[in-house]
């Protein structure tokens, strides 16, 4: 009798020990895992704080509009760089977006054969190609052939980074549109390309815009391919056949200079660049992705309520 009680007591304490130990391990893992998240967010916070803190002191109207002064003088600005970044983003979108969208349409609407499967696979692999290789490629294809640095070469290199991203997101968002939409179009006797452009794409617009903006924010910060295609310059854009400046290139050049004033200007340029890129990213997050609580979602809700 007594021994059973004893054994019960023993088992109970063993059980307690076991559970306590396991709960302790569990708690430790929770803490470790949470600290992983904190460790990852610290650099992001530090980058943003430093860029804003140092960048804001550098920025003025002159800084945003003027050409760079002589090295180390701390005068002048990053006007050509901002202009160049906008030009290069526009031109590469001009090349990259149509190809990306058409390729996405191919993958989603005609994507049920072995050709499309291999295209999809190569698209995924190509997306991860080092950007510096694409720079070399554009250099060999354009700069070496025409014999001088060219804005087109830069735009071509960046469009190569852009179109796989656009193709991928276009495919994903076209696939989200239910088959019945296509069937309805066919039942009306519409041609396939009209169905695709007028019905499917207009329904899948927001996803596609998200993809395009994401790819724009990705190429806006690319530096390596621009080094060997548009080189960088300190003058405003004059023709397609001369070197041009861009924000990432300007940051790189400024960071190589040993002057404090150049460093400060680098932070200023970084602030402009990060505002463009984070602006696009946060904009996507809150205006397109978040349909329920985002800006557009709220507008739609309000309109519905007033209609009622």
């Amino acid at each position: 009798m007594n021994s059973i009680q004893d054994r019960r007591q023993e088992y109970r304490s063993l059980f307690k020990q076991n559970v306590e130990k396991r709960l302790l391990v569990d708690k430790a893992v929770r803490i470790i895992v949470f600290s992983c998240v904190v460790i990852a967010i610290i650099p992001l916070g530090s980058i943003l704080v430093e860029v804003f803190k140092n960048g804001l002191t550098a920025i003025s109207i002159e800084f945003l509009t003027e050409t760079p002064g002589s090295a180390g003088s701390g005068e002048g600005g990053i006007g050509p760089a901002i202009q160049g970044t906008l030009i290069i983003i526009g031109l590469s979108s001009l090349i990259g977006v149509p190809i990306g969208v058409m390729s996405g349409i191919f993958l989603s609407e005609y994507g049920d054969n072995s050709l499309a499967r291999s295209v999809r696979f190569f698209n995924d692999v190509f997306m991860e190609f080092p950007s510096v290789i694409l720079g070399i490629f554009a250099f060999l294809m354009i700069v070496l052939v025409i014999g001088h640095f060219s804005v087109w070469a830069g735009a071509f290199a960046l469009s190569l980074i852009m179109f796989p991203i656009v193709a991928r997101t276009t495919e994903e968002s076209l696939k989200m549109i239910p088959m019945t939409y296509r069937e309805a179009g066919t039942a009306l006797g519409l041609k396939k390309w009209i169905i695709t452009f007028r019905i499917i794409i207009s329904a899948a617009k927001s996803g596609m815009v998200t993809g395009i903006l994401l790819s724009v924010s990705r190429i806006g910060g690319e530096t390596a391919p621009l080094i060997m295609t548009i080189l960088g310059s300190s003058q405003f854009f004059s023709s397609m056949d001369t070197p041009m400046d861009a924000l990432p290139l300007r940051i790189w050049r400024l960071s190589l200079l040993p002057y404090d004033s150049a460093q400060l200007q680098g932070w200023g340029a970084a602030l402009v660049l990060i505002m463009i890129i984070l602006g696009i990213n946060l904009g996507i997050k809150y205006y397109f992705m978040n349909k329920k609580n985002g800006f557009f979602g709220q507008l739609i809700k309000q309109r519905r309520n007033t209609a009622k």
């Binding site: 391990v25 569990d26 893992v29 895992v33 992983c36 998240v37 460790i39 990852a40 967010i41 650099p43 992001l44 530090s46 980058i47 430093e50 860029v51 149509p98 058409m102 390729s103 349409i105 191919f106 005609y110 050709l115 291999s118 295209v119 696979f121 698209n123 692999v125 190509f126 991860e128 190609f129 080092p130 950007s131 510096v132 290789i133 720079g135 070399i136 490629f137 060999l140 294809m141 190569l160 179109f163 041609k191 396939k192 390309w193 910060g221 690319e222 530096t223 390596a224 080094i227 060997m228 080189l231 990432p248 790189w252 960071s255 680098g266 970084a270 990060i274 984070l278 990213n281 997050k285």
Partner: protein, 323 residues
């Protein structure tokens, strides 16, 4: 009575055919580009293969002076592999921890944290470089490298060498930060792909949360997690600007790392540093293109393996849900 317009069908077929052909051309563009890149890199780097042969990847000289030209890329390959390996050692455990936390946290906490971590991917490489050069390097050198060097420097070769901040370790840590968003986002998707029944079964056996991860999630998602890490490795290998600004840019024999605190050079950074200054007529440009070709081959192998592993995992998921 009007006859029905029989041409209508034919016209429709023609314009649709044009549309289909246009879409197919745009789709095959990527294949054409990949083939062209391979062809261009091989043909333009041909002089260096002709001159050096396979010793190009086993030699460590790097001399572009005329008449004394001698090029070998071994030290750059080693630089890339070392920095990427250290970045993986630091970045992958962190990313898997993040993925565990976010995949398991309630959406109200998990979603914004996940977004913040993914925002790390949106920060351009050049800004990582700038931050690493002017902010991170200073703190890291004063608070971590110098104490490590002072304590272990004489006994452990890893920590010998005077810490200056522009070295392998700094570049690797920046790389680790840069691969975190990729690896953690993919691993999160993969952890979410584990069927709910597996998790419930583990909980039913009385598992704690950590035991649930050990029993249900890790065995199930092992392949996918390895794939996610290799995807991160691909990123790290191809990364250019941030590394260029932090690695210290040693060339030739000096680029062989002697310790964690020594300067080095990676394949992408040597291209970024020297490509514009090299003259296409000499052996210098072909050598750099040859380095690019090796980089591309390594990157393609890594990415193909990663994609096969990841897609296999996500395919299993679909099958499991259907059952």
């Amino acid at each position: 009575m009007d006859k029905p317009n029989l041409n209508l069908k034919k016209r429709r077929v023609i314009s649709d055919k044009v549309f289909k052909i246009g879409a197919t051309i745009a789709g095959t563009y990527v294949l054409v580009i990949v083939v062209l890149i391979a062809f261009q890199l091989i043909s333009e780097s041909y002089p260096i293969w002709e001159k050096e042969g396979l010793s190009f990847i086993t030699k460590t000289d790097w001399n572009a002076v005329e008449d004394r030209e001698s090029c070998g890329a071994l030290h750059y390959i080693m630089g890339t592999l070392t920095t990427s390996a250290i970045a993986m050692m630091i970045g992958v455990p962190l990313s898997i921890g993040i993925a565990m936390f976010i995949s398991d946290a309630p959406p109200k906490i998990g979603a914004p944290l996940g977004f913040l971590v993914e925002l790390l991917a949106a920060v351009p490489s050049i800004i990582y470089g700038l931050w690493g050069l002017f902010v991170f390097r200073i703190y890291f050198r004063d608070w971590i490298e110098t104490p490590l060097h002072n304590t272990f420097g004489e006994n452990v070769w890893l920590f010998s060498g005077n810490p200056y901040g522009l070295d392998i370790l700094t570049a690797s840590i920046i790389l680790a930060i840069m691969i975190i968003p990729t690896v953690s986002a993919v691993s999160r998707e993969i952890m979410k792909a584990v069927p709910q029944q597996q998790k419930e079964a583990a909980y039913m056996l009385g598992a704690t949360k950590w035991e649930m991860f050990k029993l249900a999630i890790f065995p199930y998602s092992k392949t996918g997690l390895i794939g996610a890490s290799i995807l991160g490795l691909g990123r790290a290998v191809g990364e250019t600007m941030a590394v260029t600004m932090l690695i210290g840019n040693a060339t030739s024999i000096g680029a062989i790392p002697k310790s964690l605190f020594g300067p080095s050079q990676t394949m992408s950074s040597i291209i970024a540093n020297e490509f514009v200054e090299s003259s296409p007529a000499s052996i210098h440009t072909p050598a750099l293109i040859g380095v690019g070709l090796i980089l591309l081959l390594i990157d393609i192998v890594i990415n193909v393996v990663a994609h096969l592993l990841v897609t296999r995992m996500l395919k299993i998921k679909e099958g499991a849900i259907n059952n």
